[in-house]
């Protein structure tokens, strides 16, 4: 769709552009060239969801194919973010204040959403300086286009969601000005670019919201503690979502701290929200009394109320441990709410299951959960997991406890990262790309003195 470019009496300079036919860049563009350029643009612009990346892409499509110099301006609040490209292929970023005078230049394009074509004279006079400044507010970027004078500037609106949020400014050295066909082509490119940049802006806004909301649902940073090393890994069932129904957490002072490994039935965002509540409940309960059975009883009571309110029957399995250094070793008290038993991998490769049992949490049926007391000597590791690991399906069935207990002895005395990595790797090889449920692996290791 073409639009007449009318001289605007209020603009600084608008004047018909001389068009010596033989020298116009656009004359070399056949119909096939134009079609190819637009299809390349469509192909190149639809893939990116990041604003800056999309802006770079648009600039690369414009220069040198359509113009000798180009600038993309995107409004953000009261600022304009300006990025420019010349034939050298270098893009520069600059942030500048949005112009206040709406009558001319960029401000006019942003206000009216209409294309504007202007000629900038060769002379370094005040008039052409003012014209340039109205379209290229950043002085550094302006230097790049000033070198092209005399030049023709074509300013195209970037419009999306019924708002002109930016502009694409193209410059050609005079003598290679923009004729009506060129303007039509450039407007089409600007429309494609606007669609892509606006989608990226929308995506960025939504991503930011999701990111802030889900921050507390992601696995925590593992604290460094004296001579105690914790390693963990979380693999979510849904590859594109980094939160899920499995969780782990670590909190408390070095001398007496608490860990929890748990599994909310279900996966994805809904399950993750419940893991957030479970983690918070455990943190609060541990402040009252770190005994694992007490932590589980309190957490269970708190979560039962939550679970009743939810649409589905949701229950939670959890393993809670209380860890206290005792000379060379670590004393660990463990209680479980229906969670798979953990293993101790001794430094010599001996493997012991920790015999703890207890009913799942979330049902409000606390029948008491006995505590197991174990000791980790130097180079011993306590290994906890969720059933997504043992139930990972391969060509010959579940990964299973047997494969796990054959692997664990090989890592006696090894750093816990190596153990966790080995299990993760073995499960991935077993699955060979098949889908899996959420998987959490968690190991506590006493280092040598």
């Amino acid at each position: 769709m073409s639009r007449p470019v009318l001289p605007d009496p209020r603009s600084d300079v608008t004047r018909p552009v001389p068009r010596p036919a033989a020298e116009r860049l656009a004359d070399h563009l056949t119909r096939a060239d134009r079609t190819r350029l637009l299809s390349e643009a469509a192909r190149g612009l639809f893939g990116s969801l990041h604003v800056e990346r999309t802006v770079f892409r648009l600039l690369a499509l414009a220069v040198p194919g359509l113009a000798d110099w180009a600038q993309v301006v995107v409004r953000r609040g009261r600022s304009l973010e300006c990025t420019a490209a010349s034939v050298d292929g270098i893009a520069l970023d600059a942030v500048t204040r949005a112009p206040t005078a709406p009558a001319s230049g960029l401000a006019r394009v942003l206000r009216t959403g209409r294309t504007q074509l202007v000629h900038v004279a060769d002379a370094a006079d005040n008039e052409s300086a003012a014209t340039l400044a109205a379209f290229v507010p950043d002085p550094t970027l302006r230097a790049g286009v000033a070198a092209l004078r005399p030049a023709d500037l074509l300013a195209l609106p970037l419009t999306g969601r019924s708002t002109t949020f930016g502009a694409l400014v193209l410059a050609r050295q005079a003598g290679r000005g923009f004729d009506q066909d060129d303007i039509t082509l450039c407007e089409e490119l600007a429309r494609l670019g606007a669609g892509a940049i606006d989608s990226a802006r929308l995506y960025a806004e939504r991503t930011h919201v999701a990111d802030v909301l889900s921050r507390s649902l992601r696995p925590p940073e593992l604290p460094e503690r004296p001579r105690t090393r914790v390693a963990a890994r979380l693999r979510t069932a849904l590859d594109h979502i980094d939160v899920g129904g499995d969780f782990y957490d670590v909190h408390g002072p070095d001398g007496d701290w608490t860990f929890v490994v748990g599994d909310v039935c279900g996966k994805g965002v809904e399950a993750a929200v419940l893991t957030g509540k479970a983690r918070q409940a455990v943190r609060t309960a541990a402040l009252v009394d770190r005994s694992p059975d007490r932590v589980l009883a309190l957490t269970d009571a708190a979560l039962s109320a939550e679970v009743e309110c939810s649409d589905e029957d949701r229950f939670i399995t959890m393993l809670v441990g209380r860890v206290r250094p005792d000379g060379e070793s670590l004393r660990v008290d463990i209680a479980t709410a229906g969670h798979p038993q953990p293993y101790i991998v001794r430094s010599d490769g001996g493997v012991e299951a920790v015999p703890v049992e207890g009913i799942v949490a979330g049902l409000g049926e606390d029948t008491g959960r006995p505590t197991a007391h174990v000791t980790l000597e130097p180079l011993d590791t306590l290994f906890c997991y969720t059933d997504g690991m043992t139930e990972a399906r391969g060509s010959d069935g579940f990964f299973g406890v047997d494969r796990l207990t054959r692997l664990l002895p090989l890592y006696g005395g090894a750093p816990p990262e190596a153990l966790v990595e080995a299990v993760d790797h073995a499960v991935a090889q077993h699955r060979d790309g098949r889908p899996h449920d959420d998987i959490a692996l968690f190991a506590v290791h006493r280092e040598r003195g």
């Binding site: 990116s48 990041h50 770079f56 892409r57 893009a91 991503t207 590859d239 594109h240 080995a422 991935a428």
Partner: protein
């Protein structure tokens, strides 16, 4: 000095002692100019950590160290690299995401590159090994970095690397490739559609500076080898199992030791991958390298050239319907 440090570091790896390893690295660092000198950090990584780690790989290859022992040593090295990297100030040259290709479990080289880039003034995010490709692509869209540095150690990772390069270019992010699965001239990297290739960690920071500011979608790979590589990729596990059966049958029960049968389990899928990778990048030397490596592994576990030839023949039999793969094996394995 360095030789001594490397030896001491290796001793710490042998006992999987992180504290001892870190102490050796820190001593070497203060000898090399201290933590304030970014070059010194890279020096220690290359000449102490990587040099010792190379010896760890040799010991595994020679059958002297178990896989678990190699893993334990590598975990210690990774921790030391991370600790040294943490001491570098954040860079301001631009944002580079460092990751491993899909199916690439060797995280240490990527970690070293991450620190080397930071030492070179880049702001980096290390995403680690075996990140699902979807999550990596998502991350690129979310953060829009200036470049992706992708590490490929095993030939099989080249297949995943190609898909990640496609995703990265789709997102407008230029890609730098590096790692032992690539050739020194960077031909494989170029054929995969990467914008740059770094022959080693030290040069990575400079190569990133030469990458374009933006990337356009990668042109599809249309050569016949790409189709065959995809075919092999899809049937990877089935092929590996079938090849394994053929080898067992050819050799007969009890003819060889348990040790090399076990090695074969790990090796056959990698060799299948290498055939696919060689076809994908149109470079038969990928297969030469895999054959030489497989030969070394088997040799140290009591097998000889005859058994290696059997592996090649079994593979050729399974892949006889793919003309490119069959020809490749005929010329680069059976001979």
């Amino acid at each position: 000095m360095r030789v001594t440090s490397t030896g001491q570091f290796l001793d710490a790896l042998a006992t999987a002692d992180p504290a001892a390893a870190l102490a050796v690295a820190e001593n070497a660092l203060s000898d090399a100019g201290g933590p304030e000198a970014p070059d010194a950090v890279v020096d220690v990584l290359v000449h102490v950590v990587c040099a010792a780690q190379h010896e760890v790989g040799t010991r595994w290859l020679a059958g002297r160290w178990s896989v678990a022992r190699e893993h334990a040593a590598t975990a210690v090295s990774e921790r030391v690299v991370a600790a040294l990297g943490d001491r570098l100030p954040p860079g301001d040259r631009g944002h580079v995401v460092v990751a491993c290709a899909d199916r690439e479990w060797h995280a240490l080289p990527a970690r070293v590159v991450d620190v080397a880039l930071r030492a070179g003034g880049w702001h980096t995010t290390y995403l680690g090994a075996s990140l699902p490709p979807v999550q990596l692509a998502q991350y690129l869209h979310d953060t829009g970095p200036d470049a992706l540095a992708l590490s490929c150690s095993l030939a099989g990772s080249l297949l995943g690397a190609r898909r990640t390069i496609e995703a990265s270019r789709e997102a407008g992010v230029p890609v730098l490739l590096g790692g032992s699965a690539l050739d020194r001239e960077g031909l494989r990297a170029a054929r995969l559609g990467a914008h740059g290739y770094a022959p080693d960690a030290r040069s990575a920071a400079d190569v990133v500076a030469t990458l374009p500011r933006t990337a356009s979608p990668a042109a599809p790979l249309t050569h016949p080898g790409a189709d065959e590589a995809a075919e092999i990729g899809v049937r990877r596990a089935i092929l590996a199992a079938a090849v394994r059966d053929r080898v067992d049958l050819a050799i007969g029960p009890g003819a060889v030791g348990e040790e090399w049968l076990e090695a074969l389990d790990g090796l056959v899928p990698l060799v299948v991958d290498a055939v696919a990778a060689a076809l994908l990048v149109t470079d038969p030397t990928v297969l030469d390298e895999a054959r030489d490596w497989a030969g070394m592994v088997l040799l140290h576990r009591g097998a000889g050239g005859e058994e290696l030839a059997t592996v090649g023949r079994s593979l050729a039999d399974e892949l006889r319907e793919l003309p490119g793969a069959a020809a490749l094996l005929r010329h680069h394995w059976s001979a």
